[in-house]
């Protein structure tokens, strides 16, 4: 209990004392996860819409695999990305291992299935409403997908936020591919793991509280900016 109190106090002083190290790793956490989220959304949202609209032979299996991949173990993803990016790996020449880019790649792989699955679920409902109307209007496949993405944007926001939540709290994969290098790849989650290993529970807890506060803050900011829950809005 004293650790918790001490952690909360330390978090308070770290934030209000504008600790430069804290600011650096917090900003890096945000930069890595928001970039990964952006890339993942560009891939996953159209994929979810495509799966909602398009009927093809293996569609059911693709959806089942996508759902299964939501539970992808991050450390395994990290390991696979590590093998690809390591000096002797197929992409070793790019020299990306132990860089924030490698962390972004790992996070993208982890959150794409999650965002695509949630997006597909949401857009499938919308497509069942729009199906006859859009066919009647002679909308092309691309126009149907665009209509679903636009009109389902608030539901898709939930999918994106779920992806953000998974990404910002992720530690296994980014530890493996990022290496937790000070001033280079250290982010809040890897710093928490490091401080816990050193027995600095109060500092680890302080970083944890800050991580939670950032996650909540980003969620609230996106909700407010997008006008979710405003009366009569979708």
């Amino acid at each position: 209990m004293s650790d918790l109190l001490e952690g909360a106090l330390q978090a308070f002083w770290l934030v209000f004392g504008r600790d430069p190290v804290l600011i650096e790793i917090s900003l890096r956490s945000l930069r890595v996860t928001l970039t990964a989220l952006l890339v993942a959304c560009v891939i996953a949202l159209p994929l979810g819409a495509y799966l909602a609209v398009r009927r093809f032979r293996l569609r059911r299996y693709v959806i089942a695999v996508l759902n299964a991949l939501m539970g992808l173990p991050p450390v395994v993803v990290g390991l696979i990305v590590y093998v690809f990016l390591s000096r002797s790996g197929p992409l070793g020449v790019l020299g990306l291992l132990f860089t924030p880019t490698a962390m972004i790649i790992a996070q993208v792989i982890i959150i794409v299935p999650l965002i695509a699955s949630i997006a597909h679920q949401a857009l499938r409902e919308l497509w069942s409403d729009y199906h006859d109307l859009l066919i009647s209007m002679n909308a092309s496949q691309g126009q149907r997908i665009r209509a679903l993405l636009w009109d389902g944007r608030r539901a898709l926001l939930t999918a994106a936020l779920a992806g953000f939540g998974r990404g910002i709290g992720e530690v296994g994969a980014i530890m493996v591919v990022g290496g937790n290098i000070d001033h280079l790849t250290r982010v809040l989650t890897t710093a928490i793991a490091l401080e816990t290993g050193k027995g600095e529970f109060a500092l680890a807890l302080a970083l944890g509280f800050i991580l939670i506060a950032i996650a909540i803050g980003v969620n609230l900011a996106i909700h407010m900016l997008s006008g979710t829950e405003r009366e009569g809005r979708w």
Binding site: D132, L133, I135, S136, N138, G232, R233, W234
Partner: protein, 237 residues
């Protein structure tokens, strides 16, 4: 010069999971007038409209438009029994079909505003379509169907859940539409409405066109006993 008519339907039928929903149907339709599709529940009214419009896949037979099939659908519009409201404002709902046709956003929104005024929704342009009343939704759906100036308008029981006032407003819009030469094919359960709007009648029974005649012939003297019984309000099976 009509792009769609004369329309001839030859032995057309549509199925769902192996069961024939409607057909085989043989019809010939001219470019003018309002065809009312009537019949008891389950007779195949909605399925006939959906088959003609191309939403329901043709299981057999042919639908011969005056133009190519892919071209034909561009000159048609469909109003559903339960109007589908896109999750947008009234104005954006109306502008959407124009945007699909490549009309620029500003022009589409201007034309949407004009059409909203025509159907009495001019004051609701910025309101979300999903919060409109049943009558307002149906008027919006009709305006959205008409905004691309279709040659043929299908309406599937558009007034089935509306009160008298809203029904009258919809009928006034449809009268205006018919007057400017838009061909209408509409299903209804309301025989008063069929008499008020129809110039010809297709009476459906068990998925087939049982009787097809001019409205001024059909209503006073239906040719078949089943149609007579249906008009008398008897249960027709």
């Amino acid at each position: 010069m009509s792009n769609l008519f004369p329309l001839s339907v030859e032995g057309a039928l549509t199925r769902r999971r192996g069961r024939v929903l409607v057909g085989p149907v043989d019809l010939k339709l001219d470019p003018t007038g309002t065809t009312m599709v009537i019949g008891p529940n389950g007779a195949g009214k909605t399925s006939l409209l959906r088959m003609l419009h191309g939403i329901a896949r043709l299981g057999a037979g042919r639908i011969n438009w005056a133009c190519e099939e892919h071209e034909a659908q561009r000159h048609q519009a469909f109003v559903f029994q339960q109007p589908v409201m896109m999750r947008r404002t009234v104005q954006d709902n109306l502008a959407y079909p124009l945007r699909l046709s490549g009309v620029k956003r500003a022009e589409a929104r201007d034309r949407a505003a004009v059409w909203a005024g025509k159907v009495g929704l001019g004051a609701m342009l910025t309101r979300q379509a999903t919060v409109l009343s049943g009558g307002e939704r149906q008027k919006l759906a009709i305006a959205r169907a008409l905004i691309r100036d279709p040659e043929l308008l299908f309406l599937d029981e558009p007034c089935s859940s509306l009160d008298g006032r809203a029904t009258r407003e919809i009928e006034e819009i449809l009268h205006g539409v018919a007057e400017v030469g838009t061909r209408i094919i509409m299903s209804t359960h309301d025989m008063g409405q069929a008499r008020r709007l129809g110039t010809e009648v297709a009476f459906l029974l068990h998925g087939k066109v049982h009787e097809f005649a001019a409205a001024d012939t059909f209503f006073p003297a239906p040719a078949t006993a089943q149609a007579r019984a249906f008009l008398n309000g008897d249960i027709v099976e």
